[in-house]
Symmetry: C2
Subunit: 328 residues, 2 copies
DNA sequence: CTGAAAGCGCTAACAG
DNA sequence: CTGTTAGCGCTTTCAG
C-alpha cells in the first residue's frame, strides 16, 4: 500500500495524507477521513521513501565492544530509553572486542545510514582518529574522553583514587593492583592513575610483584589474584580495576582461606551485580553507567537537532559503595 | 554524492555503477574505473534509495524485555554475530518489561521497516497473538514455544526436572520452590512443571508455605528466601527458577548462617556469572542462550531468503553444572 | 555487454 | 488551506 493508493481509499489527495503525517496543516474533516482509513487499512508511510526525501533516518547507530558486559548493557539501556522516547530507533553493532570492526562500522555509518552515532569506546587508535575525523554525522563517545569530540565519561581516576585511599586510610600498608590493558584509557590507564596517586600521597611504593594485568573476566581475576597473593610478603589490600576481576580475586581468597577483609581488603570498580553476592560483599564505585547512556543520547540528539558543533565533554560523578570487603 | 555524480567522476554510466554494486554484469575496464573512483570519493549507494526499489532493508528487528539481563544480552550477542556475518544489521528495541511496547514495536515493524523480527518473548497475550498473526514479515520467537510460529527455545522443563531430581536423589525430602510469574510460560510455567514432575515421581507433595514467587532480581530472591526459610519445618532443598533469585537466596543463607549445602541444597537455572562467584558456587543448568540467538538468527534468515513458511520449533538441549551448592 | 528511461513512495514548493 | 508536480537516489527493464 502506498500513499496514492491510500489517498484514493481515504478520498483525499496525496498531499493531504503527507500533511497528516507531517506538519498537519489540514482541515478537520480530511483529518478524520484519513484517520478512519488508517484504522481500516493499517497504512503507514514508508520510512525509506521518507528518508530519501528528507535525509532524516530517525536512526542512531550504537557501537559497543561487548553486549554481555553488564556495563555496556546498562549504558545501552540508558541510550535506548531516551532514543525511543524521542522517536528514534537504535541500530546496534556488537564488535566483540574487535576494534577493526569498530572502525569498519563507523565507516559504514559515515554515509547517510543513520542520523548519528554513539560509540562505547574501548581503545582509541590512529585509525579511529582518522575515521572519526571524516565523520559527517554527529558522534558521541561514551566511557572515554577525547579532546575535540563529544564525550560522556566517568570519573575513573577519581573513583580509583577514592577507593584506594579508603583502604589506605583503614590502615593498609602493602597494596596490590590488578588492572586491565592500558590500551583501554578509562578502565586501564585512568584507574591505574587514580590508584597510583593515592599511593604516592601516602608515600607508598608499589612493589613490581604486586602488580598484574587481567582480562575483563572473572576467571582471569582469579588467576592473577592467585599469582599475586602467593608472593611474600603478602599484600594487605587489593585494588581491582573491575568488579569482575575483583569477584575472581574474592573467589580465590575464599578457596585459599584468605580472610577478607581482615587479612586482605579488596575492592573493585563498577558496582556490578557480582559485587553484591560475592562471598564477601564487595566495596566498589558506582559509576552511573545507565545515566551515561541517557546523557550520551541526549547530547547526540541535541547535536543532531541544533547542529551545534562545539564539542563538549561531560564527566559524571561516582559514589563509593562501601561493603564488607574493606570493613575494619 | 549520488550515483549520477559518482558515475560522472568515474567516467561510466549510472547503470554501470549500479551493476557494479549488484549483479556485477560488467566489463573489466569499467569495473576498475569504478573501483578507483570509490577509493577517491568514498562513495557508497544510499541504503534507503536501494530499499525503496528492492524492498529489501537488510535490517532485522530485535525486541527484548531487558537488555541488562544476562540471558537477553547473550541471546542478542548470538543474533548479532550471525546477522553481521550475513550483512544484516540489527534494529534493537528494549521494552523494559513493558509488553505493550512489545506489541507496539511489533506493529511498527509490521510495515516494511525491517526484513524480519526476532522476539525474545516474555509473556504472550491475546494482543500478541493478534499482532503476530497480522505480521507480513517473518518472525522468530526466542525462549518460548508457540505452535504455529517459528521458535527457538530452551528445555526449561527438562532442566528444572533434572535439577530437582538431582537434589532429591541426594536425599532431600522437604523441597521448596521460588519461581517467577506464570505469565512467563518458559521461566514461570515450564520450570515449575519440571520441578513438580520430579516431586510427583518421588511421591513428595510440596507444602504451600514452601512456595513463593519472586521478581527477576537478586533482592527479590533474597526476600522470598527469607520468608520461606523461616517457616518450620525448614526445607532441605530449594529450587529457584533463575540464578539471580538463587543468588539472592544464597545471600540470605549466608547472612542467616544456614549451611549450604549441608542444611539446605540450592539450585538455579541459567548458568549466569552470578552462580560462579556466589558464597557457595551454585548448581544450575546451562541453557545455551547464545546458541539460541545464533539459531534464531539463522532460522530467520532462512525464512527470509527461502520464503519458506512452514513454522518450525527448535528446542535446545541443556547441561547441568553441578557445583557445591548441591554437593553431599 | 551497455545506456536511456521509467518508476519505487514520498515530500515540498508552487500556484491556486 | 489544498491539489499538482517535480524530483530524492536508486534499480531494472528495454532496446540496442
Amino acid at each position: 500500500m502506498n500513499i496514492s493508493e491510500f489517498a484514493k481509499i481515504a478520498g483525499v489527495s496525496k498531499s493531504a495524507v503527507s500533511r497528516y503525517f507531517n506538519n498537519g496543516y489540514l482541515a478537520e474533516d480530511k483529518r478524520q477521513l484519513i484517520e478512519k482509513a488508517i484504522e481500516k487499512t493499517g497504512y503507514s508511510p514508508s520510512v525509506s521513501a521518507q528518508n530519501i526525501r528528507t535525509k532524516v533516518t530517525k536512526l542512531v547507530g550504537v557501537i559497543l565492544p561487548k553486549l554481555s558486559s553488564e556495563s555496556c548493557a546498562r549504558v545501552t539501556e540508558g541510550i535506548s530509553e531516551v532514543l525511543s522516547e524521542e522517536g528514534y530507533e537504535l541500530l546496534l553493532v556488537n564488535t566483540a572486542n574487535d576494534y577493526h570492526k569498530e572502525v569498519e562500522y563507523l565507516d559504514l555509518f559515515r554515509q547517510n545510514r543513520v542520523d548519528g552515532v554513539i560509540l562505547l569506546a574501548s581503545v582509541f587508535t590512529p585509525l579511529h582518529q582518522s575515521v572519526l575525523n571524516k565523520m559527517r554525522i554527529p558522534v558521541v563517545i561514551v566511557g572515554q574522553s577525547y579532546k575535540g569530540y563529544n564525550c560522556v565519561c566517568h570519573d575513573d581516576r577519581g573513583a580509583a583514587y577514592a577507593l584506594t585511599k579508603l583502604m589506605l586510610d583503614k590502615g593498609a600498608k602493602q597494596p596490590a593492583y590488578i588492572g586491565v590493558t592500558l590500551e583501554d584509557k578509562a578502565a586501564g590507564e585512568e584507574r591505574r592513575n587514580g590508584f597510583k596517586k593515592a599511593l604516592a600521597e601516602a608515600g607508598i611504593i608499589l612493589s613490581e610483584k604486586h602488580k598484574a594485568v587481567a582480562e575483563f573476566k572473572i576467571q582471569s581475576g582469579y588467576e592473577q589474584a592467585k599469582r599475586i597473593l602467593s608472593k611474600k610478603p603478602r599484600p594487605d589490600c587489593l585494588f581491582c580495576a573491575t568488579d569482575g576481576i575483583a569477584a575472581g580475586a574474592l573467589l580465590y581468597c575464599h578457596e585459599a582461606g584468605i580472610d577478607v577483609p581482615n587479612e586482605l581488603m579488596v575492592c573493585g570498580v563498577g558496582d556490578s551485580q557480582l559485587g553484591q553476592i560475592a562471598s564477601v560483599p564487595l566495596t566498589t564505585a558506582h559509576l552511573h553507567y545507565k545515566t551515561s547512556g541517557v546523557e550520551a543520547a541526549r547530547m547526540l540528539l541535541s547535536v543532531i537537532s541544533r547542529h551545534d558543533s562545539v564539542p563538549r565533554i561531560m564527566k559524571l560523578d561516582f559514589e563509593i559503595a562501601e561493603r564488607e570487603s574493606t570493613s575494619r
